[in-house]
């Protein structure tokens, strides 16, 4: 059992929607146990996400989770996307992007 599936490794090596938006909702979340930090930028129209970008530094799990989420979230409500499923020790890494969205909302 590995958390480093091909999907996660692919998104970690080739992050999607990495970058910045201006004049939109934005917030940062940090994980003090590992120093990871994640900033999200998104726009909402009628409660649904129309644009989404993210920037962050951290482990493969937190980075891949943000990238995977960024591909699924357009046209959906901000909290409709489940975090990727990982071993309990890494749950806080996988949910860092959700924490950032929560901080912005």
């Amino acid at each position: 059992m590995t958390d480093y599936t091909e999907l996660i490794l692919d998104h970690y090596r080739h992050p999607r929607n990495h970058g910045k938006l201006t004049g939109c909702l934005s917030a940062t979340a940090a994980n003090s146990s590992c120093g990871d930090s994640m900033t999200v930028y998104f726009r909402l129209k009628s409660g649904k996400v129309t644009d989404f970008k993210w920037q962050g530094t951290g482990c493969a799990v937190s980075q891949a989770a943000a990238s995977i989420l960024s591909e699924k979230i357009i046209g959906k409500k901000p909290f409709s996307i489940k975090p990727i499923s990982v071993t309990p020790a890494r749950a806080s890494c996988a949910s860092l992007v959700i924490k950032a969205i929560l901080n912005a909302s």
Partner: protein
């Protein structure tokens, strides 16, 4: 080299345990001492008239004497606490020095209690520490740096010196009277003993200047409805029922270590550390090492280049290797290196060169799987 792995039942599993700075594994003798205490000797101590209570009291006295002998102290200078953290909180909040000098490498447990005590804090590099009250780690849990305690004493002959011995006492010969230190705190679980028991050494001449820590039963002399006087040290500082089985377990851990000899413990770990440093240096293209190049405790801190510490630790876990990753409860010290987190491999008497060979063999695997140039 020592060969004692067989004494540790948990190490029969297919794991390579390299996280003894966090907690040590336990030999059969310690596990059996705790179990036997509950089977044959369990009764509360102090003022028990019946024989079983006397037997239990004798076991606690014996453990106290063993701990005292280990660090060159007298038994009345040994105060049982829950661990190093409680000991630091006790002295910081009850002794309340107005100004404290600390090293920049302190574990949070030897930093936050002083921050909260209201003392004015000064920070210095370990080699330069001076002041009226110095609180310093004996060995850095992050980098394995060994504090020059004799030199610190020489530089500040009149200072009161508090040593966080959590990473020192389990791994080095220590003689508190020879070192001339005033306080020493350490934890049983990092030295083959159980969790929940630790030790605070306080120099005899300070014991009567120190107010009680917790108030309650067993720490009193005479009691009226409105007042009380205190028992003689160390009972004055040990309110309530102590973790008796854990104290007996700690005594068994001290026996185990003394049987090997602390000089031999240190020699074994020094050999392992020198070997590990040399092997890690061969990987210098893919690994960054932190901390002293030599003369360090059995703690190697590193990162695989371009790989987050948590990812390294988790890939190593897939091979059965237990290492710790993160800020190691020393966030300010980690931040000085400009990285968010580090991987730490730490050794004890049950580790062997083959454990290190196995770790080293998996580092390139971590690099190949997760290295990313920009991370």
């Amino acid at each position: 080299m020592l060969d004692v792995k067989k004494d540790f039942p948990i190490l029969r599993k297919s794991i390579v345990y390299l996280d003894s700075a966090a907690t040590s594994q336990k030999p059969y003798s310690v596990i059996n001492a705790i179990s036997n205490y509950y089977r044959h000797s369990n009764a509360n101590i102090h003022r028990g008239i019946y024989k079983l209570a006397q037997r239990s009291s004798d076991l606690i006295d014996l453990s106290r004497a063993k701990v005292a002998e280990l660090i060159g102290a007298d038994p009345e200078e040994i105060i049982f606490v829950s661990g190093t953290t409680e000991a630091v909180n006790f002295i910081a909040s009850r002794f309340r020095p107005p100004e404290v000098t600390l090293s920049v490498l302190e574990h949070h447990s030897n930093l936050i209690p002083w921050q909260q005590s209201g003392a004015k804090l000064k920070f210095m590099d370990m080699d330069d520490l001076t002041g009226n009250f110095i609180a310093v780690t004996g060995v850095s849990n992050l980098l394995g740096t060994i504090a020059p305690l004799s030199k610190i004493r020489k530089h500040s002959p009149k200072a009161l010196i508090f040593v966080d011995g959590a990473q020192l006492v389990p791994h080095f010969p220590v003689d508190v009277h020879k070192l001339g230190i005033d306080f020493l705190a350490f934890s049983g679980h990092k030295m083959l003993g159980p969790t929940g028991i630790g030790v605070l050494y306080v120099r005899k001449s300070l014991l009567n200047k120190l107010p009680p820590w917790l108030y309650g039963g067993d720490m009193i002399d005479e009691v009226t409805l409105t007042s009380a006087t205190w028992a003689e040290p160390p009972q004055k500082f040990e309110a309530g029922t102590l973790p008796l089985a854990e104290i007996v377990g700690l005594g068994a851990a001290v026996d185990y270590l003394q049987n090997i000899g602390m000089a031999a413990v240190r020699r074994h770990e020094q050999d392992l550390t020198d070997y590990a440093l040399a092997e890690f240096k061969k990987l210098k293209n893919i690994v960054t090492l932190y901390g002293p190049a030599s003369h360090r405790a059995g703690i190697i801190t590193f990162n695989v280049n371009g790989v987050h510490a948590h990812d390294t630790a988790q890939i190593l876990d897939e091979f059965g290797i237990c290492v710790r990753s993160g800020a190691h409860c020393a966030a300010p010290a980690v931040a000085r290196f400009g990285v968010p987190a580090m991987v730490r491999a730490s050794f004890y008497i049950y580790n062997s060169k083959s454990d290190i060979d196995y770790l080293i063999s998996k580092i390139p695997v971590v690099y190949d799987r997760l290295h990313r140039a920009d991370s």
